[in-house]
Amino acid sequence: MPAKDTAATRMLQGVTIFSDRSNPVSPVQTLSGIALEKMNSLSVADAMRFFSGVQLKDYGGLGGLKTLNVRSMGTNHTGVFYDGIQLGNAQNGTVDLGRFSLDNIEQIDLYNAQKGVLLQPAKGFAAASAIYLQSRKPVFREGEKTHGKVAFKTGAFGLVNPSLRLEQRLSERLSAVVSSEWLHGNGRYKFRYTNGTYDTTAIRQNAAIDAARVEAGLYGQLKDSSSWQAKVYYYNSTRGLPGAIVSNKFLNGQHQWDRNLFIQSSYKKQFGKRYTMLLNAKFMYDYVRYLDTAIVTVDGPLMNRYQQKEYYFSSANQYKITSFWDVALSADFQVNEMTAVNLDHFAIPTRYSTLAAAATQLHLGPVELQGNLLATVVNETTKAYTAGRDFHKLTPTILVSWQPFREEDLKIRAFYKNSFRMPTFNDMYYSTVGNPALRPESAKQYNIGTGYTRSSGGFLQFFSLQADAYYTHVKDKIVASPGRNFQWMMQNIGAVDIYGIDASVQLSPVLLPAVKTDFSVKYTYQKALDKSNPAEVNYKDQIAYIPVHSGSFIAHASWHKWDVNYSFIYVGERYFLNTNIPLYYMEPWYTSDVSVTTSLLFGRKLVKLTGELNNVFNQYYDVVINYPMPGRYYRLTASINF
């Protein structure tokens, strides 16, 4: 076979999905490359469900909001970074992970505390935990100038999802990539509710979605060996909001339109052997239109329009003082603006955030020590009504790891992190809900854990064990209490104590010759106790939507041109409000997903076909109360690399 086909040929052989990766200083879970490809997942949200220490909040279906809650602290405490720059939403503080298709993602990392590196934007030190999404970078073989991939997905929910990716080498030092996709679906699926006496099956309605994404990136290397990249991302969608299924009302008339555009760029240069600089800049524009035909105001059906702009600049600098001692200084400046149309008493806020972080790292033989101090200053102005108070805070983090045996990749690690999340614009200014007097919600995390990784040529090709135990205290928790008669309240009234264990084992044993197998088992234990008010009935009750036990299991087998994947997820019993009474009880749920993939060479093009069957045992469940999830459903994918 000609030499240039070796890469394609290699892809036709059985492969192991886990990568050999040494244990970093902070707890991390990674999905990359083949492992990511084998997941029965449409979006980043679907893939991250299988991590330990996380709960996915999923409103169901193709267009339903999907956010990740790491270690029960709440979605707003997790920073989501796309190619190293944070994805922000000052309006609601959350990133809908359901909107990021895996099509253009190369790697997903979830770090507790933070990514354990020094050279990063100050925002990298800020959140209680961080998700890093790495988009696929263009890679070329010798002499190759252009290649790409066309894929098509279809299946349940009326899914039609074509995508195209093109990579072009423009010169020795410059390459470009364009990735785009269109997702369309009627979002219809069967759901069922029963109490043993009544038993109702119906079809989810008003859940259609139409979404387009276009992304273009430039990757360059300059003569002085500095590197840069620039990226444009555009997302446009229209979707029905199917709403809660309540007695006598299975259909809702809300609709939402979204447009999101961002341009970001980064530049990295090393000066001499000691000093490295990383510059990042971003502009983001976000537009949301919301229509509720059930609410008829004097101006017609309720139609809100929200516009957000974000300007961001970051400078990060690392200096190597000695071979074992590094220091870094990062400074970020960000402006967030928001306007709203048809929203009574909206303040039109602008938020100026300045973050500065000083960090240091020591390698003392088997001990690695990282520490940083982050200063945050937030100034807020509004064009109307009351602005939030100016705010500043110093928050420290210490991370330490110890490798007791030189020959073994075994590490003991620990961290302490103090962090907070700002109240969002919705929290503070949303017409009849917001409260500008809100303070930030803060979290203190204490973590101790261990990581062990071993690769060998024997029976156990790969083995990894990760386990962490932690205690987190969240105070001044921002609680929205939707009330009666148009009166809502946003208040800093909550406090939560979280005691948790995240544990995972990944192994790749050789069970049969010629068959590569991989297994992953993850387990999460969470006691997240409401400590808001000792006089209240729910004092020390488990908080809403957090199961005490949850976990996942993945089995993968690869044989010649065939790949089989089985994924199982289990979420234990939960309560949908912060009081543990039978009225609020939600049953455990667990789903099994199966997929089969085969690859073949068509001419010299690599063709892949995947068939998935998800929720094989057709279990009906809610992740969020009254938002039914689909039962059994299938999906087919075909792709050609050219």
Partner: protein
């Protein structure tokens, strides 16, 4: 071989976990013995439940046994799909039937007054309150008269209490709330709550002979409750605009259909017992971002505040967010509910006529509406 062992382990794991799901069942309520009473009155309490949570529940207090039973509807009516529904907004008894207005379920649930067994439902979209006149039920609705999104005004639906069908409708103002009958006229409070920059200010007056709106009385912004007294007056509450215009109580003279008086008292709900109107107010202000809570009794004969305190033993300090009020028609015991932060089960307090706490009990979410049963 090893592969099969792994398979067995996986299957075992699955079977083990499968045992964890108990299977669907009806959520039972709780019975609490809160003390016997010599009298034979009981009452139903409707808990509103938060929007989207489908958590409207019905409680019953049997005063002859002293047993308070929570969440009785689901156990008595297990066949009702998705239980009682989403956001209970009013509860009334008329002619042997118990009517529960479930606002976001677009229905009025009709039950037998003695057994709480479901009889049927009245379909009225975005229904708010219910009242009765000469054998018919009247339900106010936020929905537009013509349906859909044409027009902005809401309506009152006239309902046959035997067939539970809507007979006809009468257009009123925007987002009408409570209604009261005085003589052969109906007074409907219009809120305009969907347009905070342009609240309604009027009470619609309907002639019950023709069932048509005959006039509007200008009162104040964002009207809510309407209660008729025995002296030919109608009491109307205004919620204010949550900024500079405060919540207030107005008195309409139904002979002349004019506002004849007003009292500077914040009123979230009102219960008339004899010559006393018991009121409480939870007034939110976007200026201070705080709730101001108040209580009081209004002498409806002379239209003046009697007192701003009817809980006399200091228990009011424990009540975070009063959400309902009632006075036993016979014993004159005072009932006040606390919705707390709206996300916790509420509390019902029973006070003696002198305002001393007799007992309290845990209710459903956002307890708010009472209906007394006489055996």
């Amino acid at each position: 071989m090893r592969f099969y062992i792994s398979l067995l382990v996986v299957c075992g794991l699955l079977t083990g976990l499968a045992a964890c799901r108990k299977g669907a069942s009806v959520v039972p309520g709780d019975d609490t013995h809160v003390g016997a009473d010599s009298l034979r009155n009981g009452f139903y309490l409707l808990n509103e439940g938060n929007m989207g949570m489908n958590l409207a529940t019905l409680d019953y207090y049997n005063s002859s046994t002293g047993i308070y039973s929570s969440n009785i509807y689901s156990a008595i009516n297990p066949g009702a799909t998705k239980e009682l529904g989403d956001v209970g907004n009013d509860l009334q008894i008329y002619g042997g039937k118990l009517y529960a207005v479930i606002a976001l379920s677009d229905k009025v649930e009709v039950m037998d007054v003695h057994t709480a067994k479901r009889i049927g439902q009245i379909n009225v979209p975005s229904c708010r309150y219910i009242t009765f006149y000469k054998g018919k039920a009247y339900v106010s609705s936020y929905a537009t008269t013509a349906g859909g999104t044409s027009g902005v005004n809401g309506y009152v639906a006239e309902v046959d209490t035997a067939t539970l069908q809507v007979i006809r409708t009468a257009g009123v103002g925007r987002q009408p709330e409570e209604m009261a009958i005085s003589g052969d006229k109906m007074y409907v409070a219009n809120s305009g709550g969907y347009s905070a920059s342009n609240f309604e200010r009027t009470v619609s007056v309907l002639d019950m002979n023709t069932f048509k709106e005959i006039k509007r009385i200008d009162v104040a912004v964002n009207l809510h409750h309407v209660k008729a007294d025995k002296y030919g007056d109608v009491y109307v509450t205004s919620r204010g605009d949550y900024y500079d215009l405060h919540s207030k109580l107005f008195v309409i003279d139904t002979q002349r259909d004019i506002v004849k008086d007003s009292l500077a008292a914040a009123v979230s709900d009102i219960w008339i017992s004899g010559d006393s109107a018991y009121i409480y107010g939870v007034e939110w202000s976007y200026v201070t971002n705080k709730n101001t809570i108040s209580y009081g009794i209004v002498d409806i004969k002379n239209e003046r505040m009697l007192t701003n305190k009817f809980i006399t033993d200091g228990t009011d300090a424990q009540i975070t967010t009063p959400s309902g009020i009632a006075v036993d028609p016979t014993t004159k015991e005072i009932y006040v509910t606390d919705a707390k932060d709206n996300l916790l089960p509420g509390t019902l307090y029973c006070f003696s006529p002198a305002g001393k706490k007799k007992w309290s009990v845990t209710t459903g979410d956002i307890p708010g509406h009472f209906a007394f049963v006489r055996n």
